[in-house]
Symmetry: C4
Subunit: 320 residues, 4 copies
């Protein structure tokens, strides 16, 4: 193999990557054609920024919850009973607290759910759709796409969509890759599946069209960011140095600063939360605080699919 796997788990060489032109494994020796191709396999096309939001709202809020529950442990082939119980907490207490807040505030949200998690907790997915929320694809068992054989990725993504459709009665319209681990093939598969959008990449704060090898795909990106993810600040793994070191009051400051500038820029504030992380007693107030503040600023709340539909129809295409 000509390009060495990075320590971060890089996908197998894609067939249409012309690698014969370089004879070296060292990136500083790559010819321009190679680093350009690598850097632009998937890239950001034109921004999709509407002149106005529904109801003349100054900005949009896209809340999402990744209902991973037990799959965080299962996806590694792990069988730790303690770790599985943390997943159970998400399903037993986290989701309940989140749902109560969303219902009281009367705002829609998107739930990204691995198929195995949906099969373990089908009633939660039904209820979410009944309550006007969206359920989107989030892998089969929270697997990392860049670690899969290519055929497996396509098969799992399609089967995952089928499972969600069967449980909720609605065909998923969007995708969030587990751990935002987007392979060389992910976009091609999303196109084949006719998905409306992805929400796993980070090239902008607002929506943009995804390009594959520089060509438009019609798939819209509603971008995420580590900064707006509860797991980043509150992750915990006994065997490594991962700890919930950041004070919750500082995390809410960060979320509200992101929200404030989204409002001033008349863009989108997108947030990714996890039931087993945000749903505990000492953090659930953060969700309420974010919703309250967004309402004060006059936000329009939409599911990810609703926001993407809206920008696709009303997006003013900026030069990119």
């Amino acid at each position: 193999m000509i390009y060495p796997g990075s320590p971060h788990g890089v996908h197998e060489e894609s067939a249409d990557m012309d690698v014969t032109e370089t004879g070296s494994q060292n990136p500083w020796e790559w010819p321009e054609s190679v680093w350009r191709k690598v850097a632009r396999r998937v890239s950001a096309g034109p921004g999709l920024i509407p002149k106005a939001w529904p109801g003349a709202a100054p900005f949009a809020v896209a809340l999402s919850f990744d209902s991973d529950h037990e799959t965080i442990e299962l996806r590694e082939g792990g069988r730790s009973i303690n770790k599985l119980s943390i997943g159970e907490y998400g399903a037993r207490r986290g989701i309940v607290r989140i749902t109560e807040i969303l219902e009281k505030a009367n705002v829609p949200a998107s739930f990204f759910v691995p198929a195995v998690s949906a099969l373990l907790h089908p009633e939660q997915q039904e209820l979410a759709v009944l309550n006007g929320h969206e359920v989107g694809v989030h892998g089969w068992i929270h697997e990392l796409n860049t670690k899969l054989p290519r055929d497996a990725e396509r098969d799992l993504m399609m089967r995952a969509a089928d499972v969600l459709e069967k449980i909720t009665g609605s065909r998923p319209r969007g995708l969030r890759t587990a751990s935002w681990d987007f392979s060389d093939e992910t976009l091609r598969i999303a196109t084949e599946m006719g998905l409306l959008y992805d929400s796993s990449l980070m090239a902008d704060d607002d929506c943009y069209e995804l390009l594959l090898d520089g060509k438009p795909t019609g798939v819209v990106e509603l971008p995420v960011q580590w900064i707006r993810d509860d797991a980043v600040y509150f992750g915990m793994d006994r065997m490594s140095g991962l700890r919930p070191y950041t004070p919750p009051r500082s995390v809410v400051d960060i979320f509200l600063d992101e929200l404030k500038l989204a409002s001033e820029e008349r863009g989108i504030f997108q947030l990714t939360l996890h039931p087993h992380i945000i749903g505990v007693r000492s953090r659930i107030w953060i969700l309420k605080e974010v919703i309250d503040r967004a309402k004060e600023l006059g936000a329009w709340f939409g599911t990810h699919a609703q926001i993407v539909e809206y920008v696709k129809d009303n997006g003013f295409r900026t030069a990119d």
Copy 2:
């Protein structure tokens, strides 16, 4: 072996796990029967939430101290004199400061003590019981259960209970696994030993009955959480990236937020502290602050055993 050990130290295959039906090591290829079995080896049964707490208190407080002392270093076969001296601190200064605060506040607590630690410091265990506190099982030498041969786990747990009984005169009624490392066999052994409760899992904030392969065991879980553990924020290991990065004032904010919602939800606030961590001059005030605030909110303080007894007798079984 069909299921690979996770990097987090998974137990050897249990005899009654039917693994012949899968021919793959990849979790994304597991059949449904396998991931369901893994996910539900030990699971949360009905919640045990009393309609009222003793004395009409709005909520219960379960304070616990894991008196690991020197065993933190010994359990790894380590002989670092510096690390052993940190354990000594817990026994020499930490326990003294903790005891003084508990006595002044006149509240009971549970001490979970590895047998080796109890044998190194027997007078502390005697005193704890004399003062109305509980002493519970915490392994032999703070060993990780999922790393043990199965027979060793059973043998060590039983011998540990014998040692504590011999020292304190009371048979331990509850278990906390060292590092909350709960193996596939732990619950079965707890049942065999006739233990009233475990306090190592995290599927809820309030008590629930533990199920083994979906069947009730009669053993009650009084759940813990990393969030309510001083070691998470204040851990230190020179050779890794573990550092006490979180400001103590933020840690007390987290504990008090947990306490506040426990009070509003009329549930349990459970806390896990370590004499060598919380017992230092710049952190011991946190314990006092938590107790003072809990008293202001009208808490009922019980040992873990007292709380579990109470919910077992007065628990209103919610649908789970």
Copy 3:
């Protein structure tokens, strides 16, 4: 090899290092001649501290932005689409927000840009120079100098300078090594290239002349520090324990404390920021805050080259 590589990636033995005098790999057995030679390969010569700053300003401010963009991922031979999209963010949103603030405040800055990043985003480099900013050398593809064969380091540094000159029309006058990874050969190459200054080392807060094996080189160091680098507090790597744990409000406190003492000491306040890190909605205010506060204190803002030129001409040579 006589001196073992450190775990941190030490360069191959330099030819003029006389290693024959030691027969041991253990540093505690090194003879004095060896540790003295190692400790003083590159060292700090006389400090260059002007009696006054231009316009009688009490201190100088040197803002720098390392426009690494996609090269952070490319330099490791990585092809993570998510990570590449973070680089895109720097080029698409981060640079825009930074440029707007600099233009409004009317202050110059230095951009250190790997050649590959400059080739992916040439218009940004042209614009920077048009706006009165400086573009300096920052490696070819953000490679680590101490990991390179010696010839490769020289070749890449020279080609990088050529690329920047071709794009911007100006020959770069200064160097910042990628990741501040300064090899045994870096200073010799800088001298050969006739560079005015380096900005990668940390022996002082203010400028000093660099010595090579104790001899003056004429190359001036404008020192950096981890403390004044946004990546230190806000770095994120999913696969390790690196997280943006420090609250942004605390980071600005640190920057302003550095600024305040720089002002009192009548020295230099130097800052290193990254478009993809500081350029997000919840952090960009930090840049504005630092500039506003510096202006209140009467700072003189210069590019790194302007400041070094000034101290070279007006530096009062302190005894070192």
Copy 4:
């Protein structure tokens, strides 16, 4: 070998450790005689707490500075020019700022200096002693004692003391092991050298006599703690997850909380700082703040040697 090395670098088996009685490498199988022997190789004897401090001060303050400078990098056989420059900063700027504060406040302190650092910067050690400070042993090149052959440890410690005596004119009276890495042999060597005290262990907040295999040695411990060490909160290593995550304002809160309770308990407040860490512009105020607050509380400041001498002569021996 019967006892496996821990991952934290445990010393080779000591000759007088009777290991023949165990046939296992697993700590949970160790017989009582083994874990008792390991746990009590070096232990805390009677506390040495004076009834009163000089001048009727309510408590004592022991400030220490570990002048490691370039040896942090050299001790690993490393040759990183960037890391060496951080050491230079300690010698060039850090020490200057520290000295100025100590002189203005007119308080004595202890400097623990590796021999190689002292040889690179002899004038600083001379000046320290002239100014009434103490210079103590801190290894040869900041080597880890538990990694050394036994003979090497003894040889290096003795040669280090000779170097310091030659430079300062005073024989060192105390020892601080580099990285507080205390081997099975360290105490025996300290006894042989006739040292008054060690300051590397953590079994108490106040002084105590050190026991070797349970027997008094006459060597006094003036204990340290990670909590009262600037490196813990502000350490930085590019290749690992070590970062200066804790806000400086929170670090000073911790130091002042330790100080406050030391004062209330009429004990010792001991602090360990590093010139290259605390000596930067945004942290040096912490040292001033601690001294100011200690003076307000009426502290008596002594070098480590002065405090140990005092408690040895005036210590009220508590039962341990």
